[in-house]
Symmetry: C2
Amino acid sequence: MSQPARATAFAPASTSNLAVGFDLLGHPLQRFGDRVTAVRAATPGVVMGPITGTVTGLPADPALNTAGRAVMRMLRDQAPGLGMEISIEKGIPLSSGIGGSAASAVAAVVAANALLPRPLATEELFAYALRGEEVASGAIHGDNVAPSLFGGLVLVRSAIPADVVRLPAPPGLRCVLALPELTLNTRDARAVLPRQVPLRDVTTQCANLAGVLAGCYRGDLALIGRSLRDVLVEPHRAALIPGFHAVQAAAMDAGALGCSISGAGPSLFAWCAGDAVADAVALAMRDAFARADVAASAWVSPVDGPGARVESVE
Amino acid sequence: MSQPARATAFAPASTSNLAVGFDLLGHPLQRFGDRVTAVRAATPGVVMGPITGTVTGLPADPALNTAGRAVMRMLRDQAPGLGMEISIEKGIPLSSGIGGSAASAVAAVVAANALLPRPLATEELFAYALRGEEVASGAIHGDNVAPSLFGGLVLVRSAIPADVVRLPAPPGLRCVLALPELTLNTRDARAVLPRQVPLRDVTTQCANLAGVLAGCYRGDLALIGRSLRDVLVEPHRAALIPGFHAVQAAAMDAGALGCSISGAGPSLFAWCAGDAVADAVALAMRDAFARADVAASAWVSPVDGPGARVESVE
């Protein structure tokens, strides 16, 4: 069999933090995602091909591009003689809080992996995707990379060394994602965070993290509903998002289990029990953003959705 | 059937915090416990009877005594005309970090409950036992009261209103408790805690809390072993316990999954996989305390042990 010369992979957007799991928890989102095509090239190393889609102006230097950097690291370790051209079709708006840079890095390593003489296991791709995302976010967390790569509700106990645990999502659990037409740079969103936080708040946050985890394992949506509250990070970032409190209140009034900032924002997520509630919450959040003079879309995703996939290999 | 006139209840000691669950997690310990006898009295209200056992000098004023106060609150709400004499046989050394005040309060409400015209469900006793423990600790947490009352590994997501979740303990999980012949006042142990903690440490602590919880649900002892580390509280309290670092190192060298301070100290707990490891760890911890010139005992408990029980009703 001849070696494949071209592979395309898709990686979904994702929501991270999930109110109680700052830098730790995430799950994929349907509807948006990034698509990366890797094509064998004659010269060893990585060159960037076209970058199309919702985003323009991404770095064409592979060392500065999340997708390019991830594949560079991968080839350096796994196939130093190989050359690839990496092209990106961005489906995820930049700086929206739904893991766009992670998805590009994930799609890139999944596509490139399909062209390796000895493809790696999915678990082994995690570290390379992380290195790619690092270029964009300036930090290594993995709570977007892991759900985008593996799918499902995941706990990243540690990014390096990788310690990723798949958590069960109760049947019927849905995620509404409300995406305002605003951008919020991840670095800016990190800059508003205090270096020190009150120990009293930490205990509350830990109690709620434990409640959400136990609720997921027990399939106890009421326990999740009592616990899905962020007292640690949300108070600092809420002011960066016009209409935040009104949108959150609208989600809760419409029956959400909890609602907070998706990733570093400005998008918001709301967990809901079942499709009917989720549809009502999506409408309520979009309308509340509109009343705050912010155009926004909102849609419903499963929490336990699939991760990245190879779409074609030629 | 005539109303019973005398009831005796036993409540076990407990370990709380468990490295990753400050004020949130606990489980009972075997071997030590407090025993309380409630006897019907002619005059409404609570009087203290004899206080015997390992501890002397406990308050004889029921309003200042954990057991007395708990029963006072209970009678006030449930049977204002009833009178009881409460006597305590202390089995748990004071200020040792294994939930002595909680056990007294729990045994008291369990004994008194057996004398009520309409006894309450165990869940309803929790709030009264909490009020008793408050007298001794100056704060309300519930991470000793809940395991002593209900048994098992428990998460106290919230003490008031009560939100207590029983967590599964992996089969074979054992707890070694090393009890040095020292006392450490809970209020003093709280005083060394900073009001503010670094957000970076909070993320690490949350990751480890999530890892321990997921490990318990998955029965994954290796995950528990990677996660059972306290970066938040232990660094501040370790200096209050002579020999702490040597004893902790001895426990880990002997194969413990993790070892940290039990409650507010000075006792230490270590979780272990199986009885053989636990026995070796117990020996290692006792010896390490001895090398630090601290006499100590150490013994092995199940993590999933029973809670309080009525021993006799006459």
